[in-house]
């Protein structure tokens, strides 16, 4: 994997901040975009732009083909059997909400058990808290140990559950969950399963056949695509049984004054004009990632996180959250600088051109269960280097000096 060549594809990495090189380590929040994706979106508007599905004219036909082609690419990317199982949404949050509204409201009733984990991002937490409250269902949590891993024996809780939803990779600790085992357990119990792949799909091979989930949600903007395009994978037979929750154009085959007939999947879940250029951008991002190879990306990030664990762990007064073993975590490293609030860490490092994330990372229950104050997070991607980690550490030492800790 030629990181220098990859870096050249990202125009933003040429930007200087206060005369210093930009060091972008906030990939867990969103990734930067390569020129190939930027061009794909821009060329779509320059050459092809039209509304899809309905028009007979050439631009509409081209746009429809491009939109469908992206769906095919995404389907292949996660090894789904059928592109109809791919629904384009706005982001992972909307994908999860679609499941909550269309499947959850119909299928969850009083006393039913929903199981999620303590490490969920708020996007895979709030919908289920709301649904459990509304329906009088029970919400149970797979609890975490000191390292942020799901405790031994917690999967027992899946017994008797009707629905199980877990994150593949934690956006705070980087912990990679054994989603295969979780979904297998759910399936044995007759429970429907959802995997939030927001932090895994951009960084490692995600194969829904081996995971065995019923639903899988992720977003485009964390994997080189534009913002505003997300994906929900759902098993065809489950999607067929569900009613849509957004109503309007394109999601019906027949519309009358007092009745209608739903369109087939995926269209019945894609009401209104979708984010066509976003889907085109996502298709181009998938091409880009596949050209590098997901295994290579994972290997690169594993190398970076091993390096960061070793170097950062050696700095006095810095404690790293999560497991030390890089095979159990993704390219995310979250830490505390003793005596300095994470906002101040991020603020001072920003002046040096380093972009980090600070706070609760939309995962407040995880912080509470692990007894953590707000934290600072560095998250890596294909264009990051060991030299950047060295520069980060150099500047963290400076921060400690400024605060006299």
């Amino acid at each position: 994997m030629d990181v220098e060549k990859i870096r050249n594809d990202f125009p933003i990495l040429k930007r200087k901040i206060n005369g210093k090189k930009l060091i972008y380590l906030d990939n867990g929040a969103t990734s930067q975009k390569p020129i190939q994706v930027i061009d794909a979106v821009s060329n779509f508007y320059k050459k092809n732009n039209a509304n899809i599905h309905r028009g007979i004219h050439i631009l509409s036909e081209e746009s429809t083909l491009m939109y469908d082609d992206s769906r095919n690419k995404v389907s292949r990317f996660i090894h789904s059997k059928n592109p109809e199982e791919i629904i384009f949404t706005r982001n992972a949050t909307e994908s999860i909400n679609l499941v909550m509204y269309s499947w959850g409201k119909e299928n969850i009733s009083r006393g039913d058990k929903i199981v999620i984990s303590e490490m969920e991002h708020h996007s895979n937490l709030i919908p289920w808290v709301v649904l459990a409250k509304e329906k009088g269902a029970t919400l149970e949590y797979l609890e975490l140990d000191k390292e942020g891993l799901i405790k031994e024996g917690e999967l027992e809780k899946i017994k008797g559950a009707k629905f199980v939803s877990v994150v593949h990779v934690s956006n705070v600790t980087g912990v990679i969950n054994d989603v295969e085992k979780i979904c297998r357990t759910a399936s044995e119990e007759g429970a429907v399963s959802l995997v939030d792949a927001s932090q895994s799909a951009p960084h490692m091979k995600v194969d829904i056949q081996s995971i065995g989930c019923d639903f899988l949600a992720f977003t485009g903007h964390k994997m080189l695509a534009p913002t505003g395009i997300g994906v929900l994978y759902g098993k065809k037979e489950i999607l067929d049984s569900m009613n849509p929750f957004l109503f309007g154009g394109e999601m019906v085959v027949e519309a009358h004054k007092y009745d209608m007939r739903w369109n087939s999947v995926p269209y019945k879940f894609e009401a209104g004009t979708p984010n066509i250029s976003g889907a085109v951008g996502l298709g181009s991002a998938v091409d880009y990632l596949e050209q590098i190879g997901m295994e290579n990306i994972r290997a690169h990030e594993k190398k970076l996180v091993s390096y960061a664990l070793e170097k950062l762990g050696a700095v006095n007064g810095i404690s790293i959250i999560g497991p030390q073993d890089s095979s159990r975590r993704s390219g995310i490293i979250t830490f505390e600088v003793k005596g300095v609030h994470p906002h101040d860490v991020a603020s001072i490092l920003s002046e040096e051109g380093i972009c980090l994330r600070s706070g609760y990372h939309c995962a407040q229950p995880l912080h509470e269960s692990m007894g953590l104050q707000p934290t600072t997070r560095a998250s890596f991607y294909i264009y990051n280097t060991e030299e950047e980690i060295d520069f980060l550490i150099e500047n963290l030492v400076k921060v400690k000096k400024i605060f006299g800790v």
């Binding site: 609030h341 994470p342 906002h343 603020s347 002046e351 600070s358 912080h367 006299g404």
Partner: protein, 124 residues
């Protein structure tokens, strides 16, 4: 942020002004910034429509703590009406920092003022 402003902020972070409680405070309130976990409690004592004492407790970043220190100092001698009229420009003046291009940090700086306003809106 320039060096002098930064040093002043860090000094206030380490040695805050008016840190503590007023046991028989006339007005008190607590606010959290849920994104970062900052928490501020403000205590105000009012006599003849003037704030005669102001203290705060809490945890947060250097900017929210410095803002609370300087705001509680500033509040002494002001009327509740004057406090209600304070806005984000006033806070930046009190802090001696321009945060117009740092919307996230501005939220940290504004938390103490919002807490003070919430306190004064409550019943005595």
């Amino acid at each position: 942020m320039d060096e002098i402003a930064r040093e002043r902020i860090i000094e206030l972070y380490k040695n805050p002004l008016n840190f503590g409680t007023i046991p028989d405070a006339d007005y008190t309130a607590e606010l959290r910034n849920s994104a970062c976990g900052d928490i501020i409690r403000i205590y105000l004592q009012v006599k003849n429509n003037k704030i005669i004492d102001a203290k705060f407790e809490g945890e947060g970043c250097a900017i929210s703590m410095a803002s609370a220190s300087l705001l509680t100092d500033f509040l002494k001698g002001k009327t509740p009406e004057e406090v209600r009229n304070l806005d984000k420009d006033d806070i930046q003046k009190i802090l001696g920092m321009d945060l117009s291009r740092n919307p996230s940090r501005l939220r940290c700086a504004l938390l103490p003022l919002e807490t003070a306003k919430k306190a004064l809106a409550g019943s005595k």
